[in-house]
C-alpha cells in the first residue's frame, strides 16, 4: 500500500493525529524523566554534592529506576477519602499538562494543531491543572492536604491574572494570537529583535508567574514540606503520586518553552549569521527551553520559600499594577512613532 492510498483512507486523519501526538508526547515524557535527574544533579552540584551516581553511568539510569519503583508501589486510599475524586484528581492534574502541548509550535507550522487562537488556548488549558490539586486536597479528607489545596487555589487565581496581562502585552505587539505568527513577528535582527527587550517587564513577570503557577520553589507553599508535610499530595502513593509529579514537571517544561516562544524568539538563532543559522530551528528552541529549565532549578536552589502573605502581596500588589502600567505604555507606543521599536 503506497502513501497515497493510505492518505485516502477514512481513518487517515485519526491515524495522522495519533502519530503527531506520539511524536510530541513520547519525547516529552522522556524529557520529564530526565528533568528529574537534571534537577537532582544541578541542585547537587550547586550544594557541592554529586547527586545520584549509582544507577547506570554517573546515575544516568536513575529516572528509569525511579519510574519502576513508583509503578510497583501500592496505591493507598485513605479510608475516609472520597474514593472516586481521590483517584480522579491525579488524572485531572495530568491531562491539562499534556493538552497544552497541542498548540506548541516546534518550528514554522510544526504543531499538533496550528490553531489561530493558540495563545488563548494554552492560557485557558494551563489554568485547569489547579483542579487536580484542589480536588486532591478535598478528596483526601486530610487537613494538610486541604490547606495545600486552599493555598494552591488562591495562588493560581492571583498569578493567572498577571500572567494573562503579560500575554496581552505580547499579543498587542504581535497583533495575533497564533503562536507561530508571534514567533515570526520576532524575526529579523536576531537577539535584539526578540520580545524580551521591549516587553522586559512582561518577560520577567510571565516567567516568575510561571514558576508560581507550577508550584515550584520559592512559591511551593501548596506543598510546603516544612509546614504542611507535603500539602495536597500527602495521602498519595505509587503511580497516583507519580502522575502529579509528571504533571508538575511537564508544566515546568511547558512554561519554559512558552517563554522561549513568546519572548526569546522561538526557533530563531540569536545571531543571523553562519554558523548560527546552520543549526536547525527546533534545536534553538530546545536549547532556549533547556536554559529556562536550568533557571527554574537555579531559582529553586537559591531562594528560600516565600511566606504565604508575601506571595499574595507580590501577585496582587506588585505584578498586576506593573503589568497594567506596561500595557498602557505599550498601547501608547504602538500609536506613536515609537512603534518602530516594537515591530
Amino acid at each position: 500500500m503506497n502513501i497515497q492510498t493510505l492518505q485516502d483512507h477514512f481513518w487517515w486523519p485519526v491515524l495522522w493525529s495519533v502519530l503527531k501526538i506520539l511524536v510530541v508526547v513520547v519525547p516529552l515524557l522522556l524529557a520529564v524523566a530526565y528533568l528529574t535527574l537534571a534537577e537532582r544533579k544541578v541542585i547537587g552540584y550547586i550544594q557541592v554534592r554529586l547527586g545520584p551516581n549509582r544507577v547506570g553511568i554517573k546515575g544516568s539510569l536513575q529516572p528509569i529506576a525511579d519510574a519502576i519503583k513508583l509503578l510497583f508501589k501500592e496505591i493507598i486510599i485513605p479510608s475516609s477519602a472520597n474514593r472516586f475524586l481521590f483517584l480522579a484528581a491525579p488524572v485531572l492534574a495530568f491531562v491539562p499538562a499534556m493538552l497544552v502541548w497541542a498548540a506548541i509550535p516546534f518550528g514554522p507550522g510544526m504543531a499538533i494543531s496550528n490553531m489561530n487562537a493558540g495563545l488563548l488556548y494554552v492560557l485557558a488549558i494551563a489554568g485547569l491543572g489547579v483542579y487536580g490539586i484542589i480536588v486532591a486536597g478535598w478528596a483526601s479528607n486530610s487537613k494538610y492536604a486541604f490547606l495545600g489545596a486552599m493555598r494552591a487555589a488562591a495562588q493560581l487565581v492571583a498569578y493567572e491574572i498577571a500572567m494573562g496581562f503579560a500575554l496581552v502585552g505580547v499579543l498587542m505587539v504581535a497583533q495575533t494570537l497564533d503562536l507561530s505568527k508571534i514567533v515570526e513577528a520576532q524575526a529579523g535582527g536576531g537577539f535584539w529583535s526578540w520580545y524580551w527587550l521591549p516587553l522586559f517587564p512582561f518577560f520577567l513577570i510571565y516567567f516568575i508567574s510561571g514558576v508560581a503557577e507550577t508550584n515550584r520553589a520559592p512559591f511551593d507553599v501548596a506543598e510546603g514540606e516544612s509546614e504542611i508535610v507535603a500539602g495536597f499530595h500527602v495521602e498519595y502513593s505509587g503511580m497516583a503520586f507519580a502522575l502529579f509529579f509528571l504533571a508538575e514537571y511537564a508544566n515546568m517544561i511547558f512554561v519554559s518553552i512558552l517563554t522561549a516562544i513568546l519572548f526569546l524568539g522561538g526557533w530563531y538563532p540569536p545571531i543571523n549569521l553562519p554558523p548560527f543559522t546552520w543549526v536547525p530551528g527546533t534545536a534553538w528552541l530546545i536549547a532556549k527551553t533547556a536554559f529556562l529549565l536550568f533557571v527554574f532549578l537555579w531559582i529553586r536552589a537559591t531562594f528560600p520559600r516565600y511566606r504565604y502573605d508575601q506571595i499574595m502581596r507580590l501577585g496582587w500588589k506588585v505584578f498586576i499594577p506593573v503589568t497594567i502600567a506596561w500595557i498602557v505604555v505599550i498601547g501608547i507606543a504602538l500609536e506613536t512613532p515609537l512603534r518602530v521599536l516594537l515591530r
Binding site: M115, L120, A124, L128, V130, I134, A153, T176, Q310
Partner: protein, 199 residues
Amino acid sequence: MLNITSILFYAFSIVLLGAATMVVIARNPVYATLYLVLAFFSAAAIFLLLGAEFLGLILILVYVGAVMVLFLFVVMMLDINLARLKEGFLSYLPLGLAIAALGVLELAMVYWTAPMGHIPAPAPFPGNYDNTRALGYVLYTQYLYPFEIAAAILLVAIIAAIALTLRRRSGTKSQRTEEQLRVQAKDRVHLVDLRANKH
C-alpha cells in the same frame, strides 16, 4: 446526514444537558460545582464547533479557570446543611420550570421564524478570517459605548464589593510591609559600648 461535526455536537449537547441537570440535583455541593465545570466545558466545545473559538476559550479561561476555582474554594470551606438547601427546592421548582420553558420557547421561535423552517447554513469563512479580530473590531467600534459602560459598571461593582467588606480594626498587630521594607539596621540594633571595669 450525520457528519463528524453533528456527532460531536450531539455528544457535547447531551453531556451539557446531563451535567446541567446534575448541578441542580447533586447532593454534594462539591459535586454540583464540578458538574458545573463540566457543563461550562461542554458549552465551550459547542462554541468551538461553531467556529467561535474566542468565546469558547474565554469561557474556559474566565469561568472554568478562575470563577469556578473560587466557587470550589468557597464551597469546600463551608459546612453546608443539605437538608436546608433542599427545603425550598419544590416550591421554587414551578418558577424554574417556567423560566426554562420560556428559554426553550425563545429558541423555538428562532427556528420557526426562519424561512421555510430552515435555518441557512452559516456562510463559509474567508481564508484569513480571525474570530478574535472580528469580535474586537465590532466591540471597539460599533458597540463601544455599551462595552465601556458595562466595563465601568463592573469596576464600580468591584470597588463596592471591596468597600463593603473592608474592615479596619485599630490595634491589630498585622505586619505593614512598607514599614518592614523601610527599616534599617540602626532602627533595630542599638550598639552599646561597654567598657570593662575593674572591681
